[in-house]
């Protein structure tokens, strides 16, 4: 997994609440057997019309935001399905950071498995970042994972919280499975004990 340390990029504003996983990547695109290539269909139904032509009004179709690396959105981002295709699509498009007042649980966790940093900030702070993002290509937002800060194009700094283990893995691009394998003895011990206590399970 690619590590995430700092990011300075264009932020696309998406002032919608409850952006769900079907919006992020509609189910017909879940048929891939790969993790890559889904960027082409990110927000498909909002981005393209029935004939497959770009809808000009949609934020990621606008010239200023076609290279966006950050997304600023509303409450409960990523609600709905457990599909990891949602962060895969974001990543493949080029978005490595999503900022919102709140995230749905499974989506939030899935981001960390893919080198994407989801940042939860209070609504009033997100409002400031949304306005900044609306400035378009002139406005670049900076994110520093180690310092846990987000800096606006005007230099205003906001700090964010996140779980220290998740932060550590993201900063260092650590592979979850490799880390867990280091604790194999604990798993063996648990299995032996559980097998004795609850053999039917």
């Amino acid at each position: 997994m690619q590590k995430f340390t700092t990011l300075t990029g264009i932020a696309a504003p998406m002032p919608l609440i409850n952006v769900d996983t079907d919006m992020i990547i509609p189910k017909q695109f879940l048929k891939t057997i790969k993790r890559s290539g889904l960027g082409a269909n990110l927000f498909d139904e909002m981005r393209f019309d029935d004939d497959g032509k770009e809808i000009p009004g949609f934020v990621l179709n606008q010239p200023a935001y076609r290279e966006a690396e950050i997304l600023v959105a509303g409450d409960n981002f990523g609600c709905g399905s457990s599909r990891e295709h949602a962060p895969w699509a974001l990543l493949d498009f080029g978005i490595r950071c999503v900022i919102a007042p709140s995230f749905a649980d499974i989506f939030y966790n899935n981001c960390f498995k893919n080198g994407i940093l989801p940042i939860a900030l209070p609504q009033d702070v997100v409002d400031v970042l949304m306005k900044d993002a609306e400035k378009g290509a002139n406005a670049r937002i900076s994110v520093d994972l180690d310092a846990q800060t987000v800096t606006t194009s005007d230099g205003e700094v906001a700090t964010f919280e996140l779980d220290s283990f998740k932060k550590h893995c993201l900063l260092n691009g650590l592979d979850d499975i490799g880390l867990t394998m280091e604790k194999a003895a604990s798993i063996d011990a648990f299995e032996a004990q559980a097998q004795a206590a609850r053999p039917w399970a």
Binding site: K31, I33, C79, S81, I106, D163, D176, T180, E191, W200
Partner: protein
């Protein structure tokens, strides 16, 4: 020892390792697998030369992509990418030696219906699957939730999940349900109260007289939609109904093992005085037959209500409601019971079991549909066979419903069963997001009885009028 909730008890019995910061490795007893969220996980194992650690605890079945029409065994009858995914699961199941119910097996069906049916789901177990409706299995007092594909790979390789403990939430449904009101109405009403984020960060325990009164299938319906309220998992403490359901199923413990299991299962309840971080209480008598009108599962109203207006809401929801009304083609003030329906879909992991089909058949007996199309998709081959034996299939067919083979079908447009743009559907499934059932498709979530009622009148209808 301080009093524990049911969630606390199951959690504590499954922590294989705990780090200083509270991050745990949770041992997984049952790993259910389907064809959409697993290919990349198995590929990851191959690339790193890893095996499945506990193939005997890993159970797979294809359900999302499979057509529900005869001849579906033949890959030529699937779209190419669907066929590729199903073929990948066939191969992965063989190569890694896990339990598998292929399309040709009568026991095949929707993964969350097959798990309990085959006795894989047991009280007090941890159950995961790359699918958010894994919450269904919580009906057995199992800790069950959805995971992403990277986590699927992690569980395959290590039989554990990296998890931090959630908070405890209690949802109590007191009293009794009125006639015509079902488990589906309970679960939708709860989400209507909490919103789609009300349960985020929590595991919900459903309790109360109205929950106890539900059958196991009703309890599965309630837990199925815990995720739609934001909660990863929903739990109902096991009782005699649970034990009776599980007893004798193919993979349920037997003999001495059964007695031992029973002794343990009887300890699976929340202790007196245990702490819940959040509590919601709803009176069973206050719950009406409901429908969703918008594009979020929280957009719930009794069938007797009218389409709301954006001004009825606050904050970000105002714009969201306008967007929903535009997408759904609805005008504020329209009585919900006047909304005309094109299509009716009865099925899904929420309401695709035998009792759901019985409820629908009860309404449809001797009637004919007034909608353009209607289909019943049983949740598994065994449910299908039982429905045929009970004469339900005949009732559906005589009414004009298509009687299909088992699969996820029209719940989500990954197989041929899809809505056309602006086609309006009364569905017994669990999500009404934009495009869920097909691009531009309009979904109204309802109970099986309500779906049947809509089928015969051609509009969203109060099931109590046709009972």
């Amino acid at each position: 020892m301080s009093p524990k909730t049911l969630y606390d008890k199951i959690w504590d019995d499954h922590v294989a390792h705990e780090a200083d910061d509270g991050t745990c490795l949770l041992y997984i007893d049952r790993h259910l697998v389907h064809e959409v969220t697993s290919p990349q996980a198995f590929e990851g194992l191959r690339m790193t030369g890893r095996k499945v650690r506990a193939p005997e605890k890993t159970i797979a079945v294809p359900d999302h992509n499979v057509p529900t029409t005869p001849g579906r065994d033949d890959p030529k009858n699937m779209t190419e990418d669907s066929a590729i995914q199903v073929a990948a699961l066939d191969k992965n199941a063989r190569d890694f030696g896990i339990h598998y119910y292929p399309v040709s097996d009568v026991r095949q069906g929707i993964v969350h219906i097959v798990g309990p049916e085959q006795g894989w789901t047991l009280p007090g177990t941890t159950v995961v699957c790359g699918d958010s409706h894994t919450a269904t299995h919580g009906a057995f007092g199992a800790l069950a939730h959805g995971i992403g594909t990277s986590e699927v790979e992690h569980v395959l390789a290590t039989q554990t999940l990296i998890q931090k403990k959630s908070k405890n939430m209690k949802v109590e449904i007191t009293g009794k349900l009125r006639p015509g009101v079902t488990a589906k109405d309970i679960t939708l009403s709860v989400i209507g109260e909490t919103g789609t984020a009300g349960g985020t960060g929590y595991v919900i325990e459903y309790c109360g007289e109205a929950i106890r009164d539900l059958s196991m299938e009703g309890r599965m319906t309630v837990c199925n939609m815990a995720i739609e309220g934001g909660a990863r998992a929903g739990l109902i403490a096991p009782d005699e109904k649970t034990f009776d359901y599980v007893k004798g199923r193919p993979h349920a413990p037997k003999g001495a093992a059964w007695e031992a299991a029973l002794t343990y299962w009887k300890t699976l309840f929340t202790d007196e005085g245990a702490h819940f971080d959040k509590v919601l209480t709803i009176k069973g008598e206050d719950i009406a037959p409901v429908v969703t009108w918008g594009t979020s599962p929280e957009d719930v109203l009794p069938i007797t209500a009218t389409v709301p207006a954006p001004g009825d809401f606050e904050g970000g929801k105002v714009e969201a409601v306008q967007r929903s009304l535009d997408y759904m083609g609805l005008t504020p003030g329209t009585p919900l019971s006047e909304i005309e329906i094109d299509t009716v879909f009865i099925g899904s992991c929420t309401n695709g079991r035998i009792e759901d089909l019985r409820a629908a058949a009860e309404i449809l007996k001797g009637k004919k549909i007034a909608v353009k199309r209607a289909m019943v998709v049983p949740g598994s081959g065994l449910v299908r066979a039982q429905a045929e034996e009970e004469g339900l299939a005949d009732i559906f067919k005589e009414a004009g419903f298509e009687w299909r083979l088992a699969g996820c079908s029209m719940c989500l447009a990954m197989n041929p069963d899809q809505l056309a743009p602006q086609e309006r559907c009364a569905a017994t499934s669990n999500r009404n997001f934009e495009g869920r059932q097909g691009r531009g498709g309009r979904t109204h979530l309802v109970s099986p009885g309500m779906a049947a009622a809509a089928a015969i009148t051609g509009r969203l209808t109060d099931v109590r009028e046709v009972m």
